[in-house]
């Protein structure tokens, strides 16, 4: 802190000296630059559209989970808010998109945008509840909101179909052009495009001054407030954004599987998405994406020999992960990847 002040000769109240400003802009630009590994990652996902036509259904699920985990990363990894009720937004998004379709608006993009906007509003409204108190109260409030919404969906059977689920969703072609097919190819391409666009947006946002201020709020809210970052305002904004992302993920699920059940709002969804994010690592945006791939592969593998009890292995994995140390495990893998990337 003091070093920063000494290096910056500009008097308080004035703009920083041009040299400092240039350095800040430079640093921001450096953060924003695309790394080779990122290009490889997205090239690989693009290749999966073309090379793995038989796996599009599961890949579609992965893309949706990835978007959902990405949205959790925005609040958990970048703002340090622990949420055990993130499924609330996912579920509301799914129901919103599903209801649009059953009420005659079959254009997927309209449902998608509506789900995003509705959840942004919901996220904004509930953020004021979530911001209060400690980790524990946040946990309980997020969980409580998801539970209430789950009950609502269950009780309002006339609207949501209740325990039977929302049936009879039939989607029109995307943008009046791309018809959904049986093999999930359109669905996957659609989900992947949405994921990519929203990922780019999230990448841009988190590498902006706004994103940096979020990191400061995460690491030390007191100090962040002292240097003039509006802590609560930042949290409201990022929570709203994350809610919209989760809503879009839910909408994608409803549209591509053409079915919504109360399951989308259940506790295990919130727990799973947290797990996905933790597997991949928090706070660098790719965590949710990598985690979703690993999670689905793991699920496939474990469900192969113990279909009913795969949560047992997930539980063991979680316990081991925490005992070994999240940073060490995820950080170790990340370091190995970095080393590999440098060598090639």
């Amino acid at each position: 802190m003091t070093i920063g002040l000494a290096a910056d000769p500009a008097p308080a109240g004035h703009h920083p000296a041009p040299a400092t400003a240039a350095r800040v802009v430079d640093a921001l630009k450096r953060r924003r630059r695309w790394r080779p590994l990122e290009t490889v990652f997205w090239a690989a996902t693009l290749a999966s559209v073309l090379l793995l036509p038989s796996k599009h259904l599961i890949l579609n699920e992965i893309a949706i989970l990835a978007l959902f985990a990405l949205s959790l990363d925005l609040i958990l990894g970048f703002a340090g808010v622990i949420s055990l009720g993130h499924a609330a937004f996912f579920g509301v998004g799914a129901y919103c998109a599903g209801l649009f379709a059953t009420h005659g608006i079959t254009e997927p993009l309209v449902g998608l945008v509506a789900a995003g906007v509705l959840n942004a509003l919901l996220g904004w409204a509930t953020s004021y509840l979530v911001l209060r108190g400690s980790d524990l109260t946040r946990l309980m409030v997020t969980m409580g909101i998801a539970l209430i919404l789950g009950e609502l969906a269950n009780q309002m059977a006339w609207l949501t179909g209740g325990a039977d689920g929302l049936q009879g969703i039939s989607m029109g072609p995307i943008a009046g052009w791309f018809e959904f097919d049986l093999f999930g190819t359109t669905a996957y391409a659609y989900s992947l495009s949405v994921l990519f666009v929203l990922f780019l947006a999230a990448r841009r946002i988190t590498n902006s001054p706004f994103g940096l201020s979020l990191l400061s709020v995460r690491d030390n809210p007191l100090r962040a407030a002292a240097v003039g970052v509006p802590v609560n305002g930042r949290l409201v904004q990022v929570y709203t954004l994350a809610a919209a992302y989760a809503g879009v993920a839910g909408a994608l699920l409803a549209q591509t599987t053409q079915f919504v059940s109360v399951d989308v709002l259940e506790f295990h969804r919130s727990a799973d998405v947290m797990l996905i994010l933790i597997i991949g690592g928090t706070g660098y945006l790719y965590g949710g994406l990598v985690g979703a791939v690993l999670f689905k592969l793991l699920q496939d593998l474990l469900a192969g020999f113990t279909p009913q009890y795969w949560h047992f292995w997930i539980g063991i994995f979680l316990i081991a992960l925490v005992l070994v140390g999240r940073e060490r495990m995820v950080g170790g893998v990340a370091a190995a990847v970095r080393r590999l990337a440098r060598r090639t």
Partner: protein, 284 residues
Amino acid sequence: MLTLLFDGIAYGMLLFILSCGLSVTLGLMNFVNLAHGAFAMAGGYATIVLMSRFDVPFVATLPLAFLFTAALGLVLERTLYRQLYGKSHLDQVLFSIGLVFVAVASVDYLMGSQQQIIKLPAALQGRVEILGVNIGIYRSFIIAICAVLVVVLQLILSKTRFGSRLRAAVDDRRVAQGLGINVNVIFAATFAVGSGLAGLGGALGAEILGLDPVFPLKFMIYFLIVVTVGGTTTLTGPFIASLVLGVADVAGKYYVPAAGAFVIYTLMIVFLLVRPQGLFARAR
């Protein structure tokens, strides 16, 4: 009306026995333990197994359920929980969710996913009419046991040396440690007793709350409400919170069945709005 109140009180008493151990975990170690319900479930299943496999009478299984879960709690505390006291809340949440998943899947594997039914002895079945109030015998049995436990716990906490050490440790762990109180031993003992009480609650409550492998998930939120609303420094706080919660839940489910579950969730959120830190002020 009075019958409803009576049922609500029985339910609230059960909730208190189930969750008072958690209030110590949260208050003393600031540990977010979502797996508390797993101990309750363990107690419930211990009773089931003892009754069906070894023909132990129901009442005799209760102390055994307590001892079994207390031992289980002690082992887990010494091996796993203690390594997590210094870690972040996120790590504790992940760990305890993992534990819940393991417990749910293991019980599902060992006992099957169906609801377990406890055959109560004939002496505890049925209802009697006292002063125009229809009273279930089993519920009055629960209330009697829990009332005795509450008094005993309160006496231990306020009159014994162990109790005053525990209170000191909850109030300020570091100072207590500085005064030569071995907080770790106290905590291990309290954790074991708390788990045991949860197990006892699970065994007692199997009749009323139902018992199946997803029990820890279903009741997690109830325990957390009791603890956050009731606070951790006294037993009276959680006790009153449990009674209110029990009566509100039973009454809510009876009068407005459609809105039954909303009542408590809404109450909880409103409460946390008014008292953001809860009465649980030491939350960091």
